[in-house]
């Protein structure tokens, strides 16, 4: 009897470990990409403008040509990877923390739950980009304004996921066991239930990175957040678009970078969610 119980507890723990491992692999993968991107940008970026070398077509000196400021497009896009990915990462991680905290607060009370769910309904129903654009532009056009606007609109998916997971976890026997052994509600939530939510949360974070890259680059494309001298992909794209006829490579390169990143992030996210099921 005892051995049976022990075995089942062990298998549950092993399952949880393997789930976390999958999520961890995804996270490490994304982290590696970020590190490589930083290395690349450190290796050979000349963000110096060089007006003699404007609009150079791709050659051995400039593999992806130069833009309207005479900057090497390839190194520009590599440097942009650091900017775009770190901003997107910041958006995702801060939103996840905010969403989780709000879910924890709302799981603790019935009234607060329905009120906060209604608020998240409103946030979900509103066009994110438009509201973020207007809010960020009013606060100020810097990176912090961009972050604030995107986080204040981007916490809802994490909130919903964590809330749903918390509610299923609350019905589990081991929660009763923890309560019976005298743990306070806060301790049960944070020490017992939250660790069980983490693997699903990590999977969602991985899926949302691509989305965040798109949001960040589209906002800076529209004129909020990092602006044209910056190497953020959206900003590079916005600056290159009027000169598309003379320097099409300056349009194509950042587009491909955004495209590759979103496709990659989507693929990783899909793989992780499929594994978790």
């Amino acid at each position: 009897m005892i051995s049976q119980v022990r075995r089942s507890a062990f298998s549950v723990r092993r399952l949880r470990l393997s789930e976390n491992r999958v999520a961890l692999v995804g996270l490490v993968g994304l982290g590696t990409i970020t590190m490589i991107a930083i290395q690349l940008s450190m290796a050979g970026v000349e963000q110096q403008t060089n007006l003699i070398d404007r609009f150079q077509s791709p050659s051995w000196n400039h593999l992806a040509g130069t833009d309207q400021f005479g900057r090497d497009v390839l190194s520009l896009v590599a440097a942009g990877a650091v900017r775009s990915l770190s901003l997107a990462g910041a958006v995702v991680i801060i939103s996840a923390i905010v969403g989780t905290c709000i879910a924890l607060v709302s799981a603790a009370g019935r009234f607060r739950r329905s009120a906060l769910v209604s608020v998240s309904d409103v946030v979900l129903a509103v066009p994110t980009l438009v509201v973020a654009l207007i809010v960020a532009a009013t606060i100020g056009s810097g990176t912090v304004a961009l972050l604030a606007a995107l986080v204040s609109l981007g916490w809802t998916p994490y909130f919903r996921l964590v809330l749903a997971q918390l509610e299923t976890a609350q019905q589990q026997l081991w929660v009763d066991a923890a309560v019976a052994s005298g743990a306070s509600p806060a301790r049960v939530l944070v020490r017992h239930i939250l660790p069980n939510v983490s693997s699903a949360l990590i999977a969602l974070i991985a899926t949302r990175v691509g989305h965040a890259v798109v949001s960040v680059s589209s906002l800076s494309f529209l004129g909020v957040g990092p602006q044209p001298p910056s190497s953020e992909w959206g900003a590079v794209l916005a600056a290159a678009q009027p000169h598309a006829e003379r320097a099409p490579w300056a349009v194509v390169a950042p587009s491909l970078a955004i495209l590759a990143t979103t496709a990659l992030a989507m693929g990783i996210g899909r793989r992780i969610t499929a594994r978790l099921r």
Partner: protein, 319 residues
């Protein structure tokens, strides 16, 4: 991307009753507080705009504050703002000095045309692609899946410039900007529709794959129905999922419209907002926020309520 599938009890009238009023109040509160967020005084900003004077006389500022009622209690001012907003009155633009509301109204007609055409195109193509992907196991189905996967990872600000480059500049098939003729509509609509097409196709495919193994399909087949009849039967139960995903997409569509209008320089609401952002024109921003937000809330809630009628099975449970 994970989209939480709405559960049955969430669908329907909850959004119409709870989310819509709450959302409009929240939006107008945000719009009302934009000058505060921007750290500007409306009276000073108005005077600066009207007389191009960076430092207007404090006495005149004070008298204008009284005239605009800026010294009243915040609740009174908010009530007045809300009443005027519902009538489409958002004051004068800081840059053009013309009523913001009527400019937004003109811009709205362009955006509305584009969005309506896009929704029609996206629903038709998306549903068709999804059906083909679900029912054809051969290369045709795989091609359909590939097209929708490509659409999913192509945001408008990436696809737009690329399309301008390829079809506008290199091949010269279509004009690269402007609005009015059908030729000018092709690129913006296609770029805007790519995302919705992908998600509608994906949902249609999943829902159809769920419906096809069910017994009523076997009955339909045994009665001698051909592939198109079977597709019609299976789609009858898929409509709900497709409609709710289309409703969720609407907010994204309005966001995409901002990007598309900027890229193709269309005189729509998105361009109106982006211009206001560049000029720091706070009344125009208030107006844009209120109008775009409310439209998306209203249409979203209506679509959710309509979902009840789209699924024959929900008709009995929802009442």
């Amino acid at each position: 991307m994970i989209r939480p599938r709405p559960s049955v009890e969430r669908i329907g009238f909850r959004r119409l009753i709870v989310t819509l009023p709450l959302g409009v109040v929240a939006l107008s509160l945000l719009a009302f507080n934009l000058p505060l967020l921007a750290g500007i005084d409306p009276a000073t900003a108005t005077l600066r705009a009207r007389y191009s004077d960076p430092n207007p006389d404090p006495a005149i500022v004070a008298s204008l504050r009284g005239e605009l009622g800026l010294d009243d209690h915040a609740l009174v001012r908010f009530g007045r703002f809300l009443l005027r907003a519902l009538q489409g009155d958002f004051g004068l633009s800081y840059t053009s000095r013309l009523p913001v509301g009527s400019a937004a109204w003109r811009a709205l007609s362009v955006s509305a045309q584009m969005v309506v055409v896009t929704v029609a195109l996206a629903s038709l193509v998306g549903v068709a692609l999804g059906m083909v992907a679900a029912m054809q196991r051969g290369p045709l189905g795989r091609i359909a899946s590939a097209i929708s996967a490509a659409g999913a990872s192509l945001p408008p600000h990436v696809m737009g410039p690329l399309c301008v480059l390829i079809f506008g500049i290199w091949l010269r098939f279509v004009p690269t900007g402007g609005w009015g003729s059908v030729r000018q509509m092709i690129l913006p609509v296609v770029v805007l529709a790519a995302g919705p097409i992908a998600s509608i196709a994906e949902v249609t495919r999943t829902e159809m794959l769920n419906a096809l193994p069910q017994s009523f399909i076997r009955t339909a087949r045994s009665k001698g129905l051909g592939p198109s009849g079977v597709a019609r039967h299976a789609f009858a139960v898929s409509r709900l999922g497709v409609l709710s995903i289309a409703a969720t997409n609407l907010a994204g569509l309005l966001s995409g419209a901002v990007l598309v209008e900027t890229i193709f320089s269309l005189p729509g609401l998105g361009n109106f907002i982006v211009t206001a952002v560049r000029n720091g024109d706070v009344p125009a921003l208030q107006c844009g926020l209120f109008v775009v937000g409310s439209i998306s809330l209203v249409v979203g809630s209506l679509a959710d309520a309509a979902a009840v009628f789209a699924d024959p099975r929900l008709r009995h449970t929802a009442r």
